[in-house]
């Protein structure tokens, strides 16, 4: 009886620890926030971005004279090519603001996709940066990676 109780407790502890590790991985922060500015146009490249992961642009940018930032996005699937579509979200952040101020989602693309988007109504004296989130798959280990480039102008 004692041995069974001990075994049960050991299994319980292992399960709890495993849950903690998985929870931590799923809530991992994207890459570090950008600390310096760069002139536009600038092209950021993304390679093998895992499912349920995000990556920030390396720099932040001033909007153009029309108080907007235009992005030209070129994405392609990588990793497990199982016919499952990829889903990507591009978020716009403003310096000094914790939450994203705008975003747009590219739903269910297979193979590759190209598109453009303009973030408008930005503040001329402020600076902005992007985060690219790979929302494909249900876990980080699904292998549904994303590659691509984003030109910011």
């Amino acid at each position: 009886m004692k041995k069974n109780t001990l075994l049960l407790l050991t299994i319980l502890i292992l399960v709890v620890c495993l849950c903690c590790v998985i929870f931590h991985i799923h809530n991992s922060s994207p890459s570090a926030l950008p600390l310096s500015s760069h002139q536009t146009p600038y092209t950021m490249a993304v390679e093998n971005l895992s499912s349920k992961s995000g990556v920030y642009s390396e720099y932040y940018f001033a909007p153009n004279e029309n108080e907007e930032l235009q992005i030209s996005v070129s994405l392609r699937e990588n990793g497990t090519i199982d016919g499952a579509p990829r889903k990507v979200k591009i978020l716009l952040f403003q310096i000094g603001v914790d939450d994203n101020i705008d975003s747009f989602t590219i739903n269910d693309f297979s193979g590759s996709t190209q598109l453009s988007h303009t973030f408008t109504g930005l503040e001329a004296n402020s600076h902005y940066f992007l985060r690219l989130d790979n929302l494909s798959g249900s876990t980080r280990f699904s292998g549904r990676l994303v590659d691509g480039t984003i030109e910011i102008s």
Binding site: T5, G96, N125
Partner: protein, 167 residues
């Protein structure tokens, strides 16, 4: 029984080791600065969200004890890779002859850690201050936080006021 207790204790220990990892994920609170400064409450609770060209004159009016205020804008250090602050600080509130102590902290945008700081102690009258923060990144931007380090007695208001130009 001892083994069970040992296992439970081990479990608590392992879980407690995991907790700080979660805490870092949400460590964006601007008040969360370690050391004695944790008691300082930002008077202007938001960090600046836009830039301003230099020079820029900022005014501090009746900054209360154990409170702080951010500069309204962030600034580019330019080719000199430095930012200079120059101006005056003076005691306000109750005129009790007690010196005011002020700390001026420099932050880099997107980075909650203090880059540098400059402390002015013993302000009993209008006092000229000047300081240059050097070694800054030309492509980055920086902002200031001004802390009133005085304690707040029940019978006096040891405020600080000032006018500081960022160059």
């Amino acid at each position: 029984m001892k083994k069970i207790i040992a296992l439970v204790l081990s479990c608590i220990f392992i879980l407690s080791m995991s907790l700080p990892a979660y805490a870092t994920e949400s460590a964006t609170d601007i008040v969360g600065i370690s050391g004695n400064e944790s008691a300082i409450v930002p008077f202007a609770a938001t960090k600046p969200t836009s830039s301003h060209s230099l020079p820029y004159a900022m005014t501090i009016t009746n900054l209360t004890e154990q409170h702080s205020t951010y500069s309204r804008y962030y600034f580019a250090p330019g080719s000199t890779e430095s930012l200079t602050i120059s101006g005056n600080l003076w005691p306000s509130g109750t005129e009790d002859g007690v010196a005011r102590n002020v700390k001026i902290l420099l932050f880099q945008v997107q980075n909650d850690n203090i880059i540098d700081s400059y402390t002015v102690n013993g302000i009993t009258e209008k006092q000229f201050i000047a300081h240059t923060f050097t070694g800054l990144d030309t492509d980055s931007h920086y902002y200031f936080r001004i802390d009133n380090m005085n304690s707040h007695p029940p019978y006096a208001n040891r405020y600080v006021s000032g006018s500081i130009t960022v160059i």
